[in-house]
Amino acid sequence: MCCALSLVTAGEAATIYPIHRATILAGSLFDLKVEFDGVVQPEKVRVTINGAEYSQALGKTATFVEKEKGVDKSALILRDVSISTPGVYIVTASDGVTTNTISWEVYGTPGPRQARNVILFVGDGFSVAHRTAARILSKGISEGKYNGMLAMDEMPHMALVGTSGVDSVITDSANSMSAYTTGHKSSVNALGVYADRTPDTLDDPKVETITSLVKRKLRMAVGVVTNTEVEDATPAGMVAHTRRRSDYDVIVEQFYQSGVDVLMGGGSASFLPKSVPGSRRKDDQDFIAKFRQAGYSLATTDKEMREAAADPATQKLLGLFHPGNLDTVLDRKFLKKGTVEQFPNQPDLVDEVKAALSVLSRNPNGFVLMVESGLIDKQAHNLDWERAVMDTIMLDNAVAAAKAWAAPRNDTLILVTADHSHGLAIVGTVDDAAKGELMRDKIGVYADAGYPNYPQANAEGYPENLEVSRRLAVFFNNFPDYYETFRPKLDGPFVPAVQSPEKVYVANEKYKSAPGAMLRTGILPRDASQGVHTGEDVILTATGPGSERVMGFMNNTDVFRVMVEALAAGN
């Protein structure tokens, strides 16, 4: 049915949002927008839903805009509508000359509520190689069998998730997170909206986030916990509606308006009024003061976070531990590099999760908690696989903490997934003792790879030495020009390429003198400074009530459906 529906009578037909094949939760809010391919006469415009006038079907009349700003074409916009009855909805839009017909599927959540709480873990850019390497480094492996499993491995349900968006096979963290939090596909850089054609980044047709939905319909608490800036795409996806993920000032305001109960991570610079040195805002709004006035406890250190969470009176918690992104676990716990000297009191993701659970569980109606291990992606972009894998182990520790919390309750759905892949693979081992003039000759493949000799992991699951004599050989399949050093970057996160005076990215000469360093000529466009996201599926594992819906191949939009079905949020 789906493919025969686009009927174009002449010229370019109107574009309709939500798009063809959208799956919409019954009762969830969305904006209807019809973009005509020219200036049209309002009296000739006809938009129907299952044959009825849209205004009758949706109970509201749209605004007709004769010439959209910056586009000079007509559009029809209707904000905040919903459809309560599940079924297939055929939508047509005509300007009297051309007609476009699409279909939506509106689904309900017919079963009883299974889960009181939902915890969604997102490893940003967390790919299969990260997972395998984390298992090797954290649990050890001998004679082909692992000496232990990751907490995220030991979950009864698993699926492959497709991550592509409306506009591109390759996604970014904004639109992929948006799919998880709204159930609608979006476009690169967009959050909580369908990307329309106008240049204004805040007028695009919106779809409702899970934060709004569970607060509005179920009075649940919502938590957002990350080790990146809280305005960054993944955490922002819990509340934001913007075409442009870098609208940080707006995103902070949208967090404030959302009523989010726990918000923790970095990015304090966008909370400070512009008059305060260190602020990144372009206005005088003081969101530290606003959150405080709204009853939030404020924590800026690990200790303050623990104290606030332990106080039974704390119902709302704002934790900001860095003006920008927090440091990686390798830098925080082991190397003391990055910005750790400047900001020594950053909490670990595991402790953030424990604090969030303490506060959120005070809401009698349950909670939705999103936890991001966000630097897996930032370090994968930098081609710094060791830092990314250590942050994957941290993600797993956070999952273990959530599983332990949920185990005696059996009322909490836990999902662990990624928002997109990076192009890295485990090729073998690098053996310093191997014969060979060049470092590449020391790469052991097949039988010569054997097993790496990392020390047994410490009590937290981290190997305390990464620069062992026989270490994993992990390589990326896409990169700018860079020097491959075949070693972990113990003096700070890797910066593979720098911009030349000709404005193209060239290999960072800083690494040229590393022993055995080898120039790899990039295969990406020369304006790429880093590795890029890739299009492979990501893995989703799940446990707890409602997790049985996780199976086979799923679109990222289906993950939203798993959560709202477990919560019966469409009733």
Partner: protein
């Protein structure tokens, strides 16, 4: 004026600026470095050092790197502690590091490469200011500045 003539004039002005920013001028101005800008760096903001507060309105000389111009119409540039291509968080204007200094050059100076270290000599301005043309907010500026490559 033809583009070529304009270019020639610009080159001449730049040459004059380079001569003017020689040793003699630099000696009159108080030297200040990125490391000396702040008394404290915290989650809830930075506080300016006594040195910065004492030099407000006075001539200073400061070394750093020139970030790529924000917008073509901007008549200022952002000076950073490290080359901006070495700063992974400087990819969009939402992502500037906290410790930047905005430099408004004397008229007629042109900007080219952003890789070489530079020295800027001019008057230090302290306090929030929003650039009228671009909306860029700055807290520390060096105005009426001359610049030379190191």
């Amino acid at each position: 004026m033809s583009p070529a003539a304009r270019r020639a004039l610009r080159t001449a002005c730049l040459a004059a600026a380079l001569v003017a920013t020689g040793q003699a001028v630099a000696l009159e101005a108080a030297r200040i470095s990125f490391a000396e800008l702040y008394a404290s760096v915290g989650i809830l903001g930075l506080t300016f050092s006594n040195k910065v507060q004492g030099l407000a309105g006075k001539p200073v000389a400061m070394r750093g790197y020139m970030a790529p111009p924000l917008k073509p119409e901007a008549d200022f540039f952002v000076m950073t502690k490290e080359p901006v291509s070495l700063c992974p968080f400087c990819q969009s204007d939402a992502d500037w590091p906290a410790d930047i200094v905005v430099v408004y050059l004397q008229k007629g100076t042109t900007l080219t490469s952003n890789l070489d270290p530079i020295e800027v000599v001019g008057t230090l301005e302290v306090g929030s200011r929003t650039d009228a043309r671009t909306g860029f907010v700055s807290l520390l500026r060096i105005v009426e500045a001359q610049l030379r490559r190191l």
